[in-house]
Symmetry: C2
Subunit: 343 residues, 2 copies
């Protein structure tokens, strides 16, 4: 097991990569009441290992990530008479962690919380960085707060029950971290893609740890996304729009978004064509989509309402060589040109 500390402005967060769900109790002060927020699938798989905690189970998928679910959580917390001394633990994927973190951050104006990340995507992305929240009116993460969990347990063994396409989605964010910050990690991925897909313990633990290290470093330098943190959105500006309009999984949409961002990077003379090809090849090896027929008008409409929009252009993350990222203004007309040109 390897542990990494993130110092947020408000509090410290510890990420334990390779720790087990069964040692959860070791990370919570002995006198604290624990309430676990999870989803029905995770509860059915691992509920027996939650021991003496109270459990609130929510539905699965993005459609559960709403204020209505939050309402339901508050009702149950009040029914349990949970006071400020409660310790909330989100056990699940990114959706469970985002909701559990938001619920904990606003219940009684904020109680302690931690996560046990059960998906690869959550382990390398959602559970690190302090973003919490829910969707609203069809837009992702419109309502939330920046708030760091006390701890995150990334239990690699839990990944064994994940469907294959869920695993691939985690790899999308891993590839993203390699592209924006670590060319060595990119090469490691190229060389170990089969072992990674087979969830070989040491390879996964290394990839999760390196991902968390990259993300944590960026977040520590820019907790509230005023500047550098934006590079973590590589592939996400298009990704969110595609996810919303084409109904793809987050990781699949990000994979497509990275392909588009790489193409735009080449067009601007920032990235060599052969490196673009390596990105596409690696995503394919990891069983991620690299092209798709989209409703172009719908994607454009979704992007114009995207929350990162500012004035007549969008801050867009590009790569200026494998292992490096840069944020540039891309005008609406350039965006339109790219989207219209998609095959």
């Amino acid at each position: 097991m390897k542990t990494l500390s993130i110092q947020g402005r408000e509090s410290r967060s510890e990420i334990h990569v390779g720790e087990s769900l069964d040692r959860l109790a070791d990370y919570i002060p002995a006198d604290r009441r624990v309430v676990i927020i999870t989803d029905s699938v995770v509860r059915d798989l691992y509920g027996k290992r939650f021991l003496h905690a109270d459990v609130i189970a929510i539905g699965t998928g993005e459609q559960a990530k709403t204020l209505v679910t939050l309402d339901h959580i508050f009702e149950q917390l009040i029914e349990m008479e949970a006071d400020r001394s409660v310790f909330i633990v989100g056990v699940g994927g990114g959706i469970v962690c985002d909701i559990a973190g938001f619920a904990a951050s606003v219940y009684l104006r904020g109680v302690d919380f931690g996560y046990v990340s059960t998906t690869l995507l959550a382990q390398v992305d959602a559970s690190v960085g302090g973003k919490t929240g829910v969707n609203f009116g069809g837009y992702k993460n419109m309502v939330g707060v920046f708030s760091q969990p006390r701890f995150v347990i990334c239990d690699i063994a839990l990944l064994a029950t994940l469907p294959g396409e869920e695993v691939s989605c985690g790899f999308a964010e891993i590839v993203k971290h390699a592209i924006i910050a670590d060319v060595g990690m990119f090469v490691f991925l190229e060389q170990n893609s089969s072992k990674a897909l087979a969830l070989e313990g040491s390879v996964i633990e290394s990839l999760v740890y390196d991902s968390v290290t990259i993300k944590a470093g960026v977040v520590e330098r820019d907790e509230k996304e005023k500047g550098e943190r934006r590079i973590l959105n590589f592939g996400h500006t298009f990704g969110h729009a595609i996810e919303k309009t084409a109904g793809l999984r987050h990781g699949e949409a990000v994979s497509l978004g990275m392909v588009i961002a790489a193409a735009l990077s080449v067009e601007r003379g920032l990235l060599r064509r052969e490196d673009e090809a390596r990105i596409v090849a690696l995503l394919e090896k990891l069983r991620l989509p690299v092209r798709i027929a989209v409703d172009k008008d719908a994607v454009l409409d979704a992007m114009l309402k995207d929350k990162k929009r500012q004035g007549g252009s969008i801050k867009f993350v590009l790569t200026n060589g494998l292992g490096r990222a840069t944020v540039q203004d891309v005008t609406f007309s350039e965006i339109e040109e790219i989207v219209r040109g998609l095959d």
Copy 2:
């Protein structure tokens, strides 16, 4: 006009006592889009002075302070296509400010906001200290965050349209501040109660400024209510329970709560009987209730579910002499005895 700065952990807040609503624009960077959140009564009275801002009007009273209202605000912000550069200004009393501050603190994970406080109660209490939030399931302020507004404008001239009983409610918090922190202010109140009730400008400005100074000092030393900040709850532990069960206004309930807290202080040998009598006399002069028939079972039930409850006792704020406060553990049985003994 007098200005006071509060340094929160996250940001600085400026309180401008005696500033005018008409100079609101001076406090917002020129390039920012302004959305005003207000209630229907304030909009009807002062809406013409809002100038070019977009306006979201909510209902009035505690029943508007819910997640449903928040939902309604998010819908309108999205319809207005408000992005992260929006500047939200709550113009109204404590309820409007609490909701507007919470909405701004979670919309897109937090946008800038300020307040124009239009009631005496909000000027001396709600708008200072960074508490935001809504009620839930019949309990007050169950859901919210600690978040400081960029500025608060306390326009004394706006108080002229307040109903008399609303003015008295503001005095309840003013008296509280004097009791817990400033015996000189208590004497000033005793000597100027008629001028205060007549809303004489210099007297009110002085009382608002002194109140804000006391509250800001406490909040600055203990933003998240881990310790000292609790003294601001003087009169509020009973107050909240009475407010809820007897359907009184917040200030009226706090007045009754302070009478009970003073009696308990005398019983514990902390306060002299003659000072208890001065507290009761001052509240009466300011037209605040000092006794009421309550449903004792309902009050006890409400207190046991109060969010400040910890174990078998309640942290209770008492006064150990005019101008001073102390937090002591009071057991459930003592509470029951006091409530059962109310006439």
